[in-house]
């Protein structure tokens, strides 16, 4: 047997195993704990990379949990799978890869950053659980399993956001996040129950095969849409996002971004793969587009008035999520119409997919840099800062890379994905592109403001003693900066090898469904 067949299971088993052992590392002291933290993070990153490479070579792969063989999806005489399936297509593998990179960077950063806290072995355990939940959401092929992993990642992130429990704000942010997120999870569960009541199936591929456009399905779709939009921070329920992102320890925020991308992944998996062309009306795509535009605009206009570095960057997350929703909404609008798809739909999807990876990388780097600023100066308020460029030269360079990327300055990756989104949304309605561009300009303005206040200007007396941040924090930031530079310097390569397979897999409903049913037709077995 080939051990590579077990990669989807290993991807989930490694962080879970790491989390279950982590509280016991307190017996071995600080060194053992940090070694375990680093080791497990490294292992899951490698596994994620191998999984991505394998999916790129072999197409969608499935894994039957508890079956007699990894591809024994359909038991004899059955037309539907009864066990839990993991199904990894190019889009899932892409999400897994970028989440793993963000999680690895966050882990590296946290090793030094968390030294000031007590109870770090609990932090390590929660961090791994959050990562496991995120991976599970991204590779599962079963709706109930999706709910379970959604809950793992949410519950772990509540604990992590409130990890600094002596700050009242952290507790409040965690409580608020918890209300929104638990309500969302319950809605997901109700939606799963609706689909189960109609088809007696909870498998995604099997549902995608048989689904029709009836009242039960409509209700389930609306519930999914509401819940997952709430979880990924689209506008009407975006209030938890700035609080949680700003209050969580910086390394966690970096991974938390990837977690919110996993909810976004779930949203698009439902819309494209389960409902897909069966969706009988253009209302849902338009709702997504409108949510996207609102998120973009409201997020950025709230951001420019913020004084706190963390909250400012967090409000930009709301507006960046808007870009992705806009791109995918336009793609969904064109789904099922071959001419529109070739015309603008596929470009929009490519833009959306590319923006997911760009956003995760540069936003993670921005949060890490903000965390580094806080670590060095002990201040969160922009008005107190100034002239830090001399003391923190490396942090300044890394921050500059991320800020240029998010503002969409030409050589950087943010420019490419935003350009794809402008182009395609212009084809649907010019006003969408106008909104997107205005948002981009405001983003640039607010990042120029942060950069100028924090790093430039005269040296302040109170920051005389500030030193450059320790090595592991710089290493964590460098990982993300290198990823941004690679994406920026080789845009054609990344579009062809990273983005396009993912976008193709997203619209290719038949091959996702076929992966489950085809392997069984050829005998499955051992």
């Amino acid at each position: 047997m080939n051990w590579q067949e077990h990669l989807p299971a290993l991807l989930l088993a490694v962080p879970l195993f790491g989390a279950f052992i982590a509280p016991l590392t307190v017996l071995g002291g600080k060194g053992l704990r940090n070694a375990w933290f680093l080791f497990v993070s490294l292992v899951f990153t490698v596994v994620a990379f191998l999984l991505w490479a394998r999916v790129g070579a072999a197409g969608p792969i499935i894994y039957v949990m508890g079956g007699q063989g990894w591809n024994f999806a359909l038991p004899s005489g059955m037309s539907i799978p009864v066990r839990i399936l993991m199904e990894v297509d190019a889009f899932s593998a892409f999400m897994v890869l970028l989440s793993a990179v963000a999680a690895f960077a966050g882990a590296l950063f946290s090793i030094n950053y968390m030294e000031r806290f007590s109870g770090v072995e609990k932090f390590v355990s929660l961090y791994f659980l959050m990562i496991a939940g995120m991976f599970g959401m991204e590779i599962t092929g079963d709706f109930f399993n999706f709910f379970v992993f959604l809950e793992i990642s949410s519950v772990a992130s509540f604990g992590l956001v409130a990890f600094w429990r002596d700050r009242g704000e952290a507790l409040e942010a965690a409580f608020k996040y918890m209300l929104v997120s638990t309500l969302g999870a319950m809605m997901v569960l109700v939606a799963v129950a609706f689909l189960y009541s109609r088809y007696n199936v909870v498998n995604m591929a099997a549902l995608g095969k048989v689904i029709e456009w009836g009242m039960v399905e409509k209700t389930a779709l609306v519930l999914f849409l509401t819940a997952l939009a709430m979880k990924c921070g689209a506008v009407p329920m975006h209030m938890w996002m700035p609080d949680a992102y700003a209050e969580a320890p910086a390394g966690v925020t970096c991974a938390l971004i990837a977690v919110s991308q996993a909810s976004l992944y779930g949203l698009f998996r439902v819309c494209f793969t389960i409902y897909g062309t069966f969706m009988g009306s253009p209302i849902i795509p338009w709702v997504i587009i409108v949510l996207g535009v609102l998120s973009m605009f409201i997020g950025v206009s709230m951001a420019v008035i913020q004084k706190e570095v963390g909250r400012l960057i967090a409000y930009h997350s709301v507006s960046q999520v808007g870009y992705m929703l806009l791109g995918f909404g336009v793609g969904l609008l064109a789904l099922g119409d071959a001419r529109a798809m070739a015309d603008y739909g596929f470009t929009a999807l490519k833009g959306g997919v590319f923006h997911i990876v760009n956003y995760t990388m540069y936003k993670g780097l921005l949060f890490l840099a903000a965390g580094a600023l806080y670590y060095a100066t002990g201040s969160r308020n922009l008005n107190d800062m100034g002239g830090l460029g001399r003391q923190l030269p490396k942090t300044m360079v890394l921050f500059m890379i991320a800020a240029a990327a998010i503002a969409g300055l030409p050589p950087f990756n943010g420019f490419v994905s935003k350009l794809l989104i402008y182009e395609s949304s212009f084809a649907v309605h010019p006003i969408l592109a106008v909104f997107a561009m205005v948002t981009s300009v405001l983003t640039l303005a607010s990042f120029v403001k942060i950069f100028q206040t924090a790093f430039l200007g005269p040296e302040l007396k109170k920051f005389k003693a500030v030193r450059e941040v320790p090595g592991s924090m710089l290493a964590g930031m460098t990982v993300l900066a290198v990823a941004i530079l690679v994406l920026s310097l080789f845009p054609t390569w990344s579009l062809n090898h990273l983005v396009e397979p993912a976008a193709k897999a997203l619209v290719d409903q038949a091959s996702y469904i076929g992966a489950v049913f085809a392997t069984a037709a050829t005998g499955g077995g051992l």
Partner: protein, 116 residues
């Protein structure tokens, strides 16, 4: 209509919990409202699995040899959902305790120090 009474109860419970979530001012009551929403969800799944006249899906107790059993999957799913609900409730109550220790109040209006 009386046949679908359980679904009506599910809907009413869910909406009641939701109303409590958005209108209550006391953190403890908000936590209770969340539990009500969870209960409604679990009730919904378990009612989906009932087959009239079915017996318990355990062969040790099946007795008369009837193979007409209620659907087992919803029971398994509910079991999982209940444990998850228990975990979230425990964590939520801990948050409420910590917030109370910090601010000396359970009222949302006293606690909201975060700027929107």
């Amino acid at each position: 209509m009386i046949g679908n009474f359980p679904y009506l109860v599910v809907g009413i419970l869910f909406v009641m919990g939701f109303v409590g979530l958005v209108f209550e001012k006391n953190l403890m009551k908000i936590a209770i409202a969340m539990s009500v929403v969870e209960a409604a969800t679990n009730l919904f799944i378990i009612t989906l699995g009932y087959r009239s006249g079915g017996s318990i899906p355990v062969w040790t107790m099946a007795g008369g040899g009837s193979s007409r059993m209620v659907l087992p999957t919803p029971q398994a799913l509910t079991l999982t959902a209940i444990v998850i609900g228990l975990a979230t409730t425990a964590l939520m109550l801990s948050f409420v305790m910590m917030i109370y220790r910090h601010y000396g109040s359970l009222d949302v209006r006293d606690v909201r120090r975060l700027r929107g």
